[in-house]
Symmetry: C2
Subunit: 448 residues, 2 copies
């Protein structure tokens, strides 16, 4: 990606780069579907009220308006969606009568955020979301399953070593309450800045904003430093809380996090840690929260994040609690391409370039190509009967590995233009080596 | 589709409807790739200048702006693209140095038009485009090949009988000039209204606007009534022109149209007619123009349209002539779903629902599911060990055809909940019938 985008923050891929993205999208789709997730898409626009009612990204929203709106007053104010969770919640509420719950869906679409563009941050990007939503209730096991599905999906991408970092909002909130800090969301927001501003300033803010004592601040910071691959985090948390404190909510969170970590250790060993510093910015999470680090690409931040939400989707007294995870595909793909971690073996689908002896042979050449296509071999036919050398050069320049010749007697030959080998071939039977059939995605996990 | 959209003009599909759309998109992708077309995507937004410089849809453009744009003055005015041709032309010019020409690409994306919503017209819809673009020149054979590719793609969709209707701008323009009507684009625009306003008013407008004589008007209308499945249109056209008229451009158009129609009659018999009434509104077409009618769905208008453009993509003295066709996927899919012409055999990917005897069996049940998934069989595991009757009912309600049981001794059985048949099964070997493996798309071409 030597080119720079003609519009800042908007990435456009070259054909060979797009193949890497397609590999990622196809793989995710395959894994999601194999676990029973159905595809949906939602419209790109939402009413401004829907968007601004949720989340915290109001300043990043792109408004949309018809430039010649003659009935502006009658139309709702619209904006491009900035994630796929809020639109999905609306979709579920609107279509609840037509869906079977628990409803499992994946959704792979562009989203838009008017953030200041910078390296790896885009104003338009593709997200791949998986969510499970229940009608009124959703078993906690959904939180476990979703983490397993995402771990399997990331493994299938062959992008190198990664780790899910998991926490639980009930645990944090219960813990702060047990410490005597009543405004748990405020504590979360301040402690979440730990990496940015450091421990001293976090303590200072906790004291100034919430009146926290030195002991409370120390305990809050100690919590954020707990990170275990097994379930030993639970006892470490309990050791930080005064013996007489009420800990019901905290224990609920500890039990949930224990269940997730145990199950992941069994089903996808080495892919998850309990990391009690994970907070996730969005207000709607109520239990499990997930982030994911891709080793060697730590500067990307979390490549896959999400959590449990109890009341994002509601209609009157009805609620549709859910749990979801979202992969930031564009940021991931652009990093993997940029570092050379993933690349395509060629930029065009065609495996065979069928040459022309004379312009009148075009239809016969298309017959050859159709026989190949019918057997899953992508083929392109020359437009005109230029000198063979020129036709071969054309195929070579485009990265098409094989060139097909038919002589006056109808005898067919195929040439591998990389080796120069030329052999007799039958259009109804000849098949390239599997690695030459379609563009392959080549992983180089050493590149980081 | 009993539901009505919550936002007028914005279609959202239910999971089983989305499967029909995915079938269409996957099939198009497969056919396009088998003919050597590479995938690209362009950003959803273009600068206003790029969009308004081309085409004729300015009043339909959706402007996009950050709601808190602090640097509005410095940012280009942006709008959502209304087709994929104009963005593709920009992409080609910007990336010409990185592309191998003739460049063949397909592009399947959403586009937006602020048109007044009505039945079958949407403000957001998916287009599937194929184009071939040359550097400086593009052989006419590209026009032939593209029509063949689209015919093959539409055949692969199994949506019933269709016909490409093809004309040539050089032919029409040369013909009008030969008649002595110099402003050929104006004649085209007026004759294009034939179906809407009738022959008398077309004659009247030709006379009033362009000063056409009765003979000229009659000849112009006669041209628009020529429609032949073979190449006999050429002599019919020549018969309408005074013997002494200069007809060089017209003959060029006749030769091109003859080549397209001959080739299509040979390669995809019955799929194309020369229809000299086809004009296509967009100004940038310069030669071949295509429309496509789907029989039984004539009210949809053209389901696939396009043409040859010589100078859509230009940079300084460099031009990238191209030829392209675009399928209006959303309108087509919504009509095919609405009429029952295409439907999905079930709404969920899962073929097997793995039940739980006890909550502690979840991981063992996931092991069973993983063995199935590894062999391409989508499987879902119950969240909790409810009564078997309830678990079966759950699978049934979601349309999952098979339910899996494992007893205390680890003996596996699988039940077809449609027939009630229950048999011993090995998770490493059992396979459903091919028609039950994944949701199938069922065609009913009688439905129109």
């Amino acid at each position: 990606m030597a080119r720079s985008a003609s519009l800042s923050g908007y990435l456009e891929l070259l054909p060979e780069e797009r193949l890497v993205e397609l590999h990622v999208l196809d793989t995710l789709r395959q894994v999601f579907e194999s676990h029973g997730f159905a595809s949906i898409e939602s419209r790109a626009v939402e009413t401004m009220e829907t968007l601004l009612g949720k989340g915290e990204v109001d300043k990043e929203v792109y408004a949309v308006s018809r430039i010649h709106a003659d009935d502006a007053a009658k139309e709702s104010k619209l904006a491009l969606h900035f994630d796929l969770t809020v639109p999905f919640a609306r979709y579920v509420v609107e279509n609840a009568g037509y869906l079977a719950f628990p409803f499992r869906r994946y959704q792979i679409q562009k989203v838009w955020r008017g953030e200041r563009p910078q390296a790896g941050r885009f104003r338009e990007f593709t997200q791949a979301d998986v969510d499970i939503v229940g009608d009124g209730a959703l078993p906690f096991r959904a939180d476990v399953e979703l983490a397993v599905v995402i771990a399997r999906a990331l493994e299938a991408l062959k992008i190198g070593d990664f780790q899910l970092r998991i926490n639980n909002r009930k645990l944090s909130q219960g813990f702060y309450t047990a410490l005597g800090l009543q405004d748990a969301p405020a504590v979360l927001r301040i402690v979440d800045k730990l990496e940015k501003i450091g421990a001293d300033r976090v303590k200072q803010e906790l004291a100034e904003t919430l009146g926290a004592t030195a002991e409370q601040s120390a305990a809050a910071l100690a919590l954020a430093q707990i990170r275990t691959e097994d379930v030993s985090f639970a006892d470490k948390v309990r050791a930080l809380v005064p013996g007489e404190a009420p800990t019901e909510l905290m224990e609920e969170g500890l039990a949930e996090l224990t269940e997730v970590i145990s199950a992941l250790n069994e089903r996808v060993p080495g892919r998850a840690v309990a990391d009690l510093s994970i907070a996730r910015g969005l207000d709607y999470y109520t239990g499990t929260v997930y982030e994911t680090v891709l080793f060697g690409h730590e500067s990307l931040g979390s490549i896959c994040s999400g959590g449990r939400y109890e009341s994002l989707a509601t209609k009157g007294k009805k609620t549709y609690p859910g749990v979801g995870l979202s992969i930031g595909v564009t940021r991931l793909v652009s990093a993997l391409i940029g570092s050379g971690a993933l690349s395509a073996s060629r930029s065009v689908p065609a495996a065979v370039y069928v040459t022309l002896r004379s312009d009148a042979d075009w239809s016969a050449a298309e017959d050859v190509a159709d026989q190949l296509r019918a057997r899953g071999i992508s083929a392109e036919v020359a437009f005109s009967a230029e000198k063979f050398g020129k036709q071969i050069k054309y195929a070579d320049r485009r990265g098409i590995p094989f060139v097909w010749f038919t002589d006056d007697e109808g005898r067919h030959q195929v040439k591998d233009i990389r080796t120069g080998d030329q052999v007799d071939a039958d259009p109804a039977a000849w098949t390239p080596a599997p690695e030459d059939l379609a563009p392959r995605i080549i992983g180089n996990t050493d590149a980081a």
